[in-house]
């Protein structure tokens, strides 16, 4: 789960990590008031989950409160398109108004999980303010790493290695080491999957500060962090995904094609997208229906499909194991009874209780297209999406 920069900075602050003074504003008038309180030059920063805001015009500098108000009115209520958003962009409902600090050096600091070593790793670099993946490729010698033994926790000697490695001055090392310890404390206590400060800056008065901040959280651990879960901004989600989520369809991702897919299991669902592609079509979504024990999830999935104007055909591919093919069949039949389904529906059932599932569908009188196997299903769905059938 992602959160906004202003929320991330509030958390950093709670953990004793210095951030620029500032506050979040939902209206231009609020932005003006905050800027007036800060005095002097401020930055007005669009609050969206995507990166690349600066280049996209989502961060404006303002010399005074009036300018801040003007900048905010240009940003709030608009949609920001960055290289990380869709072409529609992300809606901006808030800006962070922050005092501009004098920057002497830009550094990089983050914590992620190293999957191969199965432990957290703190990454530090002198090359802050840039895309860290690029730094990794172009100047790998500038990337410093400290692996964190989970049973011992963070150790300050690791912090000193990183701090001296970034050529910090004698006075800067101590606060930097403290900051690193605090960042790991936050990462660990809140079950982060990413804690990134880019840039971490040395200011004109020689203090160290998080100029930008990105915190992502482990979705699987949200059950023990109600405070974090509450920070989620549903307006940042794709509207189709948000609607699907509300209807209890958790593993749904909107894609750019026109075949609505309902599959059980994530691997098979990915394979269905690939197979559709192989057959010359494109999927409108990824949807892992999971283990279905009743028909309501199937009906919800059909409601999600019919609400999506992109969907020109529907493909149901179920390999019954935990999910039973007859339950899916009943769900499809009920969906036809409850919803006006205007697009062709291709159904391929296999596995547990498949004979019963097929019989139910055949006897229901609904107008569906039966597929003999996996490949046949994809071909028929691609044909149907191009208006080739029905």
């Amino acid at each position: 789960m992602k959160i906004h920069e202003y929320q991330a900075k509030a958390l950093l602050s709670q953990y004793g990590i210095p951030v620029p003074s500032g506050d979040v504003a939902g209206t231009p008038a609020e932005a003006k008031k905050i800027a007036a309180g800060l005095q002097g030059k401020v930055a007005v920063k669009a609050q969206v989950y995507a990166g690349g805001r600066g280049k996209a015009g989502g961060i404006k500098l303002a010399a005074n409160a009036d300018e801040a108000e003007k900048s905010a009115s240009g940003i709030i209520g608009a949609r920001l398109v960055t290289h990380q958003t869709s072409a529609r962009g992300a809606p901006v409902s808030h800006v962070l108004v922050e005092k501009v600090v004098e920057v002497r050096r830009e550094l990089y600091l983050s914590i992620v999980i190293d999957n191969a070593r199965k432990m957290p790793v703190m990454i530090a670099s002198e090359a802050g303010g840039m895309d860290i993946e690029e730094v990794t490729l172009t100047s790998p010698e500038k990337i410093l790493k400290a692996y964190i033994d989970p049973s011992a926790g963070w150790q300050d000697f690791e912090g000193r290695k990183l701090a001296y490695g970034m050529n910090l001055s004698a006075q800067q090392v101590k606060p930097a080491v403290k900051l690193m310890a605090n960042l790991y404390k936050l990462f660990h206590e809140k079950d982060c999957s990413l804690a990134e400060i880019n840039p971490l800056v040395i200011t004109g008065d020689d203090s160290i500060m998080a100029l930008d901040a990105k915190l992502n959280f482990d979705d699987s651990a949200l059950f023990r962090h109600e405070d974090i879960r509450r920070l989620h901004d549903p307006a940042q989600d794709d509207p189709f995904e948000a609607r699907a989520n509300e209807m209890g369809i958790k593993n749904y991702i909107k894609l750019s094609g026109n075949i609505g897919c309902m599959v059980n299991g994530a691997g098979l669902a990915m394979a269905v997208l690939d197979l559709i592609n192989y057959c010359g079509g494109n999927a409108a979504n990824f949807l892992d229906i999971g283990t279905v024990n009743n028909t309501s999830a199937v009906i919800s999935a059909f409601k999600v499909f019919t609400a999506d104007p992109d969907v020109k055909a529907i493909l149901v591919n179920i390999f019954g194991g935990m999910a039973r093919a007859d339950t899916i069949a009943r769900g499809i039949i009920e969906a036809y009874q409850q919803i006006d389904i205007k697009v062709p529906v291709v159904v391929r059932l296999a596995g547990t209780n498949v004979a019963e599932g097929k019989r139910l569908l055949a006897e229901s009188g609904i107008n569906y297209i039966e597929a003999a196997d996996f490949l046949d299903a994809a071909r028929k769905a691609v044909d149907a999406s191009k208006g080739g059938r029905n």
């Binding site: 990380q84 999980i113 999957n115 191969a116 199965k118 432990m119 957290p120 993946e133 033994d149 989970p150 049973s151 660990h188 079950d191 999957s193 482990d218 979705d219 699987s220 651990a221 059950f223 023990r224 593993n251 991702i253 894609l255 599959v263 059980n264 299991g265 994530a266 691997g267 098979l268 669902a269 990915m270 394979a271 269905v272 997208l273 690939d274 197979l275 559709i276 592609n277 192989y278 494109n282 999927a283 990824f286 892992d288 390999f319 019954g320 194991g321 935990m322 296999a350 596995g351 547990t352 196997d373 996996f374 490949l375 994809a378």
Partner: protein
């Protein structure tokens, strides 16, 4: 032979009294697995389908000689269950649970280090040696005993693959679902090593997916150490970057985890790549020249 489980496997079910635990206990017993014990704290002394239930793994092992465990415990308690099994000296622990917090799994891996235990999963369907033993949630009847080893990060895509193989008359030695999480107990290389050493296994099917670099590690191992035929499919070639495709581990982040890179690495290592997920079985049959 087969790998990891066979007729000698004596299975303990952790979380046997829960809905999924009891359902799959019954399925495993029906398949012929020797389920010797169950474990749910506070339910010691009870029986589930004739299987005695214990309060601790330690007592279950002491009383029944269980040598493998399957875990159906909710995410918040699953890490504790894995560690309890390892502490009791069980050499093979299969964790089905999906959604265990990453930090908990980091503690688990730290705890398991140096202990004589193999963890399979979490977030996996388990494993099956057809005709001998099933320690998992897959439908037993789609399998057929034979000589092809299957290893996969997915559940249902493995069922699809196995059904294709069985439909073409190709049996399996063992099918191992290693799981869809980023932090796994057993990876592709571990299983490839076992299949390479297993006399019964003549060819290996490896089903990978986007996210991480486990397939590249597998490719390197195949190049260096595997002289058996490897057929592979990587799911997610059409997945968008930056999105988690259902599995916690299935995500392309930056330049890491793309399907194409995995396919190229495996192909360069000599693995045969199935053109699409519907023709994995066909590709195996053609490669084996049956």
């Amino acid at each position: 032979m087969s790998i990891l489980i066979d007729e000698k496997t004596r299975l303990l079910v952790q979380g046997i009294t829960g809905g999924e635990g009891s359902f799959h206990t019954q399925r495993c017993i029906e398949y012929g697995t020797k389920v010797v014990a169950g474990m749910t704290p506070g339910k010691g002394g009870a029986q589930v389908f004739g299987v005695p239930v214990f309060n601790t793994v330690e007592s279950a092992v002491r009383e029944t000689g269980a040598n493998a465990s399957i875990i159906f415990v909710p995410p918040s308690g699953a890490a504790d269950s894995i560690m309890e099994a390892a502490d009791a000296g069980i050499p093979l622990v299969v964790c089905i649970t999906e959604g265990i917090p990453v930090m908990d799994m980091i503690s688990v891996h730290s705890f398991l280090k140096g202990k004589p235990v193999r963890l399979i999963g979490p977030n996996c369907p388990g494993l099956i040696s057809p005709g001998k033993c099933k320690v998992g949630i897959m439908a037993g009847e789609i399998h057929k005993q034979g000589n092809v080893g299957v290893v996969s990060r997915s559940g249902t895509l493995t069922y699809e693959t196995v059904a294709q193989l069985t439909g073409l008359g190709i049996g399996q030695s063992t099918c191992v679902g290693i799981g869809g999480d980023p932090l796994l107990g057993t990876n592709f290389v571990d299983v490839l090593k076992l299949f390479q050493e297993d006399e019964e296994t003549k060819a290996i099917v490896l089903i990978g997916e986007i996210g991480g670099t486990m397939e590249q590690d597998a490719a390197q191992f195949i190049k260096d150490k595997v002289n058996k035929l490897v057929i592979s499919f990587i799911a997610g070639a059409s997945a968008p970057p930056g999105r988690r495709m259902g599995h916690a581990g299935a995500i392309i982040s930056g330049n890491t985890g793309k399907a194409q890179d995995k396919i190229e690495a495996l192909s360069a290592a000599g693995a045969i790549i199935a053109p699409n997920p519907a023709e994995i079985g066909k590709t195996v049959k053609k490669s084996l020249k049956y």
